[in-house]
Symmetry: C2
Subunit: 231 residues, 2 copies
DNA sequence: CCCGTATATTACCCATGAGTAATAAAAAGT
DNA sequence: ACTTTTTATTACTCATGGGTAATATACGGG
């Protein structure tokens, strides 16, 4: 028998590597559990004891992986944001005119909103984070917003999108999509992809039937009575 | 001098009435202050001491008007919901076809979202309330949702609205509108009415330019490549 | 087999903030 | 003026939960 066993010989780094990987897996397990609980019950109603308990460990063990509760919250958020940044880059570098890109973005973003990590982007309160992390979150939200506005502005410029204010239109679209994170449940009747594709269609095509195929019972008038609001 | 001053004579109930009114005014002042702070900083970061301090009183004084912090939160919410219920009733009893009613609803709801009491409807977490009050909130949200769906379904039936799934379309619209409560600021460039009317237009008319007036640079094709989603 | 490191546990600390006496000041009623 | 009721204050209780210190246990390396 040799002084060294074969496995040790094959990969001297393996023990170290596997150890590091085990650690990362545990870290991620904490985040998965935390994000679930935070979404289910809300950040402030979830204690670190709750998180630990669901992982069959005790609270102080968590501090081997994270420095504070708000750091856990931030890392949960970051997981979701990473995915968004990825598909934004993918769409941005891909082909198609502005309207096509906008539709792709809506589709991808809507699907993301049906996941835990996606919902965490809109259901967590950035004010629970440190000032530095709040800055990071704000920057990320700005990136998303800029992308929507860019596609809208480009689309207006190239004629694929009706003249509109990109800022306001971006808010309208983002609102619809973010809201998915509040109501969507996997148990429901709609698959994530189905919701996403319907949203992509509706948000870009609108609802009003300007040119009814025959003639609607409503005898659609072009002119609205007055510009004034309600009341 | 008479034994009774004229005012006292005119209204024997006045002392009692004015007392009750003073009380109600103070109650409302508490709510106005609370709603502001809750929106500014988030419910869990606002202490009752904070609320009291801004009113130049001390915490226990609040307990003359409310039984608990979560009751204050609930009453803040109820103030906003009351307004929504009112204009829903008004629109529902008013004239116009389904699409017209939908536009009125969007307009009114959007305007409401630009106010403190409106924003509280979407920015407060119902899970901070007692189980009973959570029920009330759920019922109210259901009422709003039903109204949107009804107008959409009616519109599809009478031809004023494109065929669509009212459930999903209602979510899309409500999402856009609720989101206003998260981003709108009075200090911004847009008035509440301007935002509301743009939303009413965009959400019902859509964005895509199906029939460009001359011929857009994008050489619009009628056929989209495939029904499948992204990726 | 022993040592050092990583990871876990038990038992604490302690700031925070909702809610509650006990009591004082103010206003209303007579 | 005297009493009662309402409204406010000061001074407290106390449960909660984030975070830490001291310490035990598992584990890979030599």
């Amino acid at each position: 028998m040799d002084a060294q066993s074969p496995e040790t010989n094959l990969s001297p780094w393996m023990p170290f590597e596997s150890r590091r990987r085990a650690r990362d897996e545990k870290r991620e397990a904490v985040l998965r559990t935390a994000v679930r609980l935070f979404l289910e019950q809300g950040y402030h109603r979830v204690t670190l004891n709750d998180v630990a308990e669901r992982l069959n460990i005790t609270k102080p063990a968590l501090y081997n992986y994270f420095r504070s509760k708000d750091e856990i919250l931030f890392e949960c958020w970051a997981l979701g944001q990473e995915i968004v940044d990825e598909f934004i880059a993918e769409i941005d570098n891909g082909g198609g005119n502005a309207l096509a890109k906008l539709r792709k973005l809506i589709q991808a973003y809507a699907e993301q909103m049906t996941t835990d990590s996606g919902a965490s982007l809109v259901r967590f309160d950035a004010r629970d984070l440190t000032a530095e992390n709040q800055k990071i979150v704000r920057a990320a939200k700005k990136r998303i917003d800029r992308t929507f506005r860019k596609y809208l502005a480009d689309g207006v410029a190239d004629g694929s999108i009706k003249p509109c204010d990109p800022k306001l239109a971006a808010f309208a679209i983002a609102g619809s999509l973010n809201w998915i994170g509040h109501w969507y449940q996997r148990a429901g009747a709609w698959s994530a992809e189905a919701v996403a594709s319907r949203f992509a269609a509706q948000l870009t095509e609108g609802l009003a039937n300007d040119r009814p195929s025959k003639r609607g019972p409503g005898t659609p008038k072009k002119s609205r009575p007055a510009k004034g609001g309600r009341k």
